[in-house]
């Protein structure tokens, strides 16, 4: 397993009294930022994270949009703050980006002046995708191919989707001035060439920087533990881990799937602190799984590379890909990813 590089965190802090309990944010970044700035070697206190809870915020999310975000594979990026981005200019951005995308796609081809391009770009806000009211509003960008048919019933086809969000990004927000909008987590679905075009426009227009967000084995383990800890009414998917073995000359992949009820039983047996997940518990959970495996196969999974974890809540791949399956824990999953994105930016 890769060396521990998780941030420290302070125990849960109480936010202001008007917020309901489930908006309590642990702020692991505060302490780490300070210590990094002071350039002192920081003592590793056992990191803790709050078990994701079913967020009441779900009610404000448009169910149609929510369904759109689930069950899709998203490629993850971290994004530095956007300079002079304004939510009131979304229509203007749509227009500018449409023209930019069309121009990029037409590069190298002879084009009639004034020709009507058959793609359009739409910006729209995603209400309710945030952790605290202070988080910047999430928004969605889509490349659509305009329907060729005159009939109104024919819907435009979605070619590419990307969305920007910030969940519990308080500590990060505090470090930037008001000209900046903080949406450190970017998720994209569609062809890489489209992602590159959109990314280029954003980087030029808002002086920001995208960077692929890989997820290392350490964080994958945390995700597996946290998502196994989530209460589920029923399980849609098995709990599965994928390891890649660095042996040569032939590659070897090991897929280890556990019945979700059994994984939960194992977790419940490991879990001691109500409402929180600790490093010790994550380590013990993974250790039990690995030792059960070792008992049968005499192979040390810890000497191999954890590449993917999959649960009924979500699945994540080390290359920085996520698929969220359970609407109840959407915010919880995004919160962790926001943490990782912020960590990468700093």
């Amino acid at each position: 397993m890769e060396p521990c590089d998780s941030p420290e965190s302070t125990p849960r802090q109480n936010a202001s009294s008007n917020l309901k309990d489930y908006f309590l944010a642990s702020t692991p970044w505060q302490k780490r930022l300070e210590s990094v700035r002071k350039q002192t070697s920081f003592v590793q206190t056992t990191p803790r994270r709050k078990v994701p809870e079913c967020s009441q915020l779900q009610e404000t999310i448009d169910p149609h949009k929510l369904a759109f975000l689930l069950h899709k594979q998203w490629t993850l990026y971290s994004l530095t703050p956007l300079y002079k981005f304004s939510y009131t200019n979304l229509k203007e951005y749509s227009r500018l980006l449409s023209a930019f995308v069309a121009a990029e796609k037409q590069k190298g081809l002879a084009v009639e002046v004034g020709e009507d391009f058959n793609i359009k770009v739409i910006f729209s806000t995603l209400l309710g995708i945030k952790g605290t009211p202070r988080d910047s509003e999430a928004f969605l960008v889509q490349i659509l191919s305009k329907s060729q048919l005159p009939s109104k019933n024919r819907e435009d086809k979605v070619l590419w989707t990307g969305w920007f969000c910030c969940i519990f990004g308080d500590s990060f927000l505090e470090t930037v001035s008001e000209d900046f909008t903080c949406l450190p987590l970017f998720l994209a679905n569609g062809s890489e060439s489209n992602t590159a075009i959109i990314g280029t426009w954003f980087q030029k227009t808002f002086d920001c920087y995208f960077s692929r967000l890989a997820i290392n084995a350490f964080n994958l383990s945390w995700m597996a533990a946290m998502w196994t800890a989530c209460k589920m009414d029923h399980y849609m998917a098995t709990t599965e881990f994928l390891w890649s073995v660095p042996c040569s000359p032939q590659s070897l992949d090991i897929s280890y799937a556990v019945h979700p009820e059994d994984a939960k039983a194992l977790w419940d047996s490991v879990h001691k602190t109500p409402g929180e997940v600790t490093q010790e518990e994550v380590d013990l959970f993974m250790d039990c799984l690995c030792s059960h495996f070792h008992r049968h196969f005499k192979i040390h999974l810890s000497a191999t590379r954890l590449v993917r974890v999959s649960t009924s809540v979500a699945s994540a791949h080390t290359d920085g890909k996520i698929k969220i399956l359970c609407h109840k824990y959407l915010i919880g999953v995004l919160a962790y990813l926001t943490e990782l994105a912020v960590f990468q930016i700093e």
Binding site: C247, S255, A257, L266
Partner: protein
């Protein structure tokens, strides 16, 4: 030549890579050598196919001729298919019948035709007395689909047959039935063994994989291989490391043998065993139910990869018998329960 047959022929020819075209056509032996020389093999494949189809039409190629070409192509590309293994058992108290190939073929075909009026059954004898069978499946009212055939490789005088099953799953029981009846066996069952590598499956099933090759020379002592690498390390440590490495090497060779491993792509284990741990005794201590797990190992060459694990320090030596028994038990699907 019927249009459907001509089309089937054209598509089969298009499957064949250009570098193999001459070899396969020669093996097909439908055209005499002199006629093949007159064909222009330098043109584009689509055009070549058109020319060949025309020639076949002149010679009134039949559906069975084209099916034969399909068999030859598949034999040359056997690793494109996934093969299952069937094992049949003898009738109890049955005398060993002298195997009659023609009788087998006729009985096999008849069994299928009685059940489904529309089937195309073709045979081609192969090396080691094996027979390759191709079956294209239709129904009582529709013609056979030539593009989703089943292939069977049967070794007479053994109770084994290898089958690349069509995606039409409903055909499997009927196929089993036909094989069983035609070969005078009492029962047929599918083994828990599956791979793309037909020759490796054969080697495993017939226990031919452990033949030692005379030129195989991997047992050079480790000291020779590590010359000059450890100059600054305590020689006693080097010695201990070397002793351990040699132990691992020796055990690995004892387990896997000194020969190339048969090639499999995966092994799958369905586990229903209780959680037990020496270190973490409290965990799940009261739970009676086992953990239900499904473990799958995948690799382009699974057994070679497993063989390299202990020397690489990723696994203990000796490796678990669950893994090392794959060739000897002739299985790559397992169900493991507590005793």
């Amino acid at each position: 030549m019927e249009e459907t047959v001509a089309e089937f022929l054209r598509r089969t020819i298009l499957k064949i890579p250009m570098y193999e075209m001459m070899t396969i056509l020669k093996a097909w032996d439908f055209f005499p050598e002199e006629q093949l020389q007159t064909v222009n093999f330098r043109q584009r494949k689509e055009q070549l196919a058109v020319d060949l189809v025309l020639l076949c039409e002149k010679k009134s190629a039949s559906l069975n001729d084209v099916a034969l070409l399909d068999i030859i192509y598949t034999q040359a590309h056997r690793n494109h298919k996934v093969w299952d293994v069937f094992q049949m058992s003898e009738e109890p108290d049955d005398d060993v019948n002298l195997f009659d190939m023609e009788q087998f073929k006729s009985s096999f075909k008849k069994t299928l035709q009685r059940a489904l009026r529309n089937v195309t059954v073709s045979f081609r004898n192969a090396e080691e007395n094996a027979v390759w069978i191709r079956v294209a499946w239709g129904t009582q009212c529709s013609k056979p689909n030539q593009y989703k055939p089943t292939y069977v490789v049967y070794y007479p005088q053994t109770p084994y047959a290898f089958a690349s099953l069509s995606t039409l799953k409903s055909t499997v029981p009927l196929l089993g039935q036909a094989l069983k009846i035609a070969s005078n066996h009492h029962q047929i069952m599918k083994m828990d063994l599956r791979s793309r590598h037909l020759d490796s499956l054969k080697a495993i099933v017939f226990k031919q994989y452990n033949q030692v090759f005379e030129n195989h020379n991997s047992t050079k002592p480790l000291q020779e291989r590590n010359l000059g690498q450890n100059r600054n390390v305590d020689p006693r440590l080097i010695h201990e490391n070397t002793v351990e490495k040699e132990r691992i090497q020796r055990i690995t060779e004892e387990t896997f043998g000194d020969y190339p491993q048969p090639q499999l792509e995966f092994a799958q284990y369905k586990l229903e065993t209780k959680f037990k741990s020496d270190i973490n005794r409290g965990i799940l201590a009261e739970r009676e139910e086992p953990l239900r797990c499904l473990v799958k190992f995948s690799s382009p060459h699974l057994l070679e990869a497993l063989k390299s694990l202990a020397p690489a320090g990723i696994a203990d030596a000796p490796l678990s018998p669950l893994l090392t028994c794959i060739p000897s038990k002739r299985k790559n699907y397992f169900k493991i329960r507590d005793k």
